[in-house]
């Protein structure tokens, strides 16, 4: 007979909302701003229930003007509040990037540390559901490249809750990038592996600590967010061929846990990086560099990356699916270095 385990599965969307609600109950300085985050509960479900509990002064629907309301959040944070502000699609960052990378990311430095900017910029990324090139990008590398802000992206509901709690409590600006395909929202595609058991009580998942989500000895597959699920499925396929794959979930890009990646590659000797962001100048290159710069001799074979090709994301479903990372591409990447 199997032991009855107390189940409390949540989607990433519900886990995020629960973390926000718990912090809002503790700290009156925490409030939320964004488009459709009020009565609708967020287009991606991550503020559902908050409006009913906290009302319109703390759960503030904004006009469609990211320039204004993200700028307002930077001001509020610099003045002692702890805003959580939603940029509905990360693709829209163009109109508000000055507030993000010249103000949010730099105010603390420019003030010699006398001004803190404890805000969370939460934003959706990722494709796979035919929403075309202005609603499907990940842009991890774009944000992680610019100093002055933490950049995190959970792969499952447990991490999403703990990382949101940590983000709200952090005195630095945090860009919380959630993948639409992991939200449990149905019309965005449903990755079942993201909906996991989540404790009801509050907890933090600390930044800068990657998770080895599957242990193995022959190859290290590194990813984040949706990439972790592709990596786990690839690891299942590889196991059928007798290959033991280790999967590392980066969880946070800034700070980046290079140590866990390096330790894993030292054990396996092979490295594949999975990234739904663009191939060039991004996360995948950074991960590979952080191993090679430290000790190239741990690699038995050239590292490989399975990333999004350097093209704007197509609307056509067959074309988009052709471009996206997937488990078969990861297996093919392994096959290309298996003999080494």
């Amino acid at each position: 007979m199997t032991t009855a385990v107390k189940e409390r599965k949540l989607t990433v969307a519900r886990a995020m909302a629960e973390a926000v609600a718990q912090e809002m109950r503790l700290d009156p300085k925490v409030f939320v701003m964004g488009e459709d985050i009020g009565q609708l509960g967020g287009v991606f479900g991550n503020t559902r229930g908050l409006y009913d509990e906290f009302g319109k002064t703390r759960i503030r629907d904004t006009p469609i003007s990211e320039t204004a309301f993200i700028g307002a959040a930077v001001g509020a944070a610099s003045d002692g509040m702890r805003p959580i502000v939603e940029l509905m699609f990360v693709d829209f960052f163009g109109v508000c990037m000055d507030a993000i990378y010249n103000l949010m990311a730099k105010n603390t430095y420019f003030s010699g540390g006398s001004v803190k900017v404890p805000m969370v910029l939460m934003t959706s990324g990722g494709g796979g559901y035919s929403d075309a090139g202005q609603h499907s990008q990940c842009l991890y590398g774009t944000f992680a490249h610019l100093p002055g802000m933490k950049v995190v992206s959970p792969s499952n509901a447990y991490d999403a809750k703990g990382m949101m709690t940590a983000a709200i409590r952090d005195d630095n600006p945090v860009v919380f990038m959630y993948h639409k395909g992991l939200q449990g929202m149905g019309w965005l595609g449903t990755e079942a592996g993201a909906t996991v058991n989540v404790p009801e009580e509050s907890y933090e998942v600390p930044f800068g600590k990657a998770a080895v989500v599957r242990e193995g000895t022959d190859v290290t597959i590194v990813g984040l967010a949706m990439g972790v699920h592709n990596a786990l499925k690839a690891a299942d396929l590889l196991a059928k061929k007798g290959v033991s794959a280790e999967v590392v979930d980066l969880r946070t890009l800034v700070p980046l846990d290079r140590e866990t990646v390096f330790d894993s590659v030292r054990k396996t000797g092979r490295l594949i990086v999975v990234d739904e962001d663009y191939h060039s100048f991004g996360v995948s290159g950074e991960i590979i560099a952080s191993v090679c710069e430290r000790d190239i001799s741990v690699l038995k074979a050239a590292p490989r990356r399975v990333a999004y090709p350097d093209v704007p994301i197509p609307f056509s479903r067959p074309m988009e699916q052709f471009c996206l990372p997937n488990p078969d591409k990861i297996v093919a990447a392994f096959d290309s270095i298996a003999g080494a």
């Binding site: 009855a4 599965k9 149905g186």
Partner: protein
């Protein structure tokens, strides 16, 4: 006594079909009355389905199944 988990007629307006988007409890899990069990989606809006009784859950309609008002999505025994 077994309880059917039925999609209520007043869950949304009209007779559009819905899709099961999430089960928050596993097949065979022990559930308690009122606990959130599943979400179903109509026109991009999710609706909650809660447990009508205490007992052991049997999932009848899986994630991604298309369902209508009145359908039995699960049973609690």
């Amino acid at each position: 006594m077994a309880s059917d988990i039925v999609i209520a007629d007043d869950m949304w307006d009209g007779d559009e079909q819905a899709v099961v988007t999430n089960w928050f409890a596993s097949d065979g899990a022990t559930v308690t009355q009122g606990m959130l069990l599943a979400e179903i989606m109509v026109a991009k809006i999710q609706h909650e389905i809660r447990a009508p009784a205490n007992g052991v859950l049997t999932i009848v309609r899986k994630v991604d199944d298309v369902v209508s008002k009145g359908d039995v999505v699960g049973r609690i025994a």
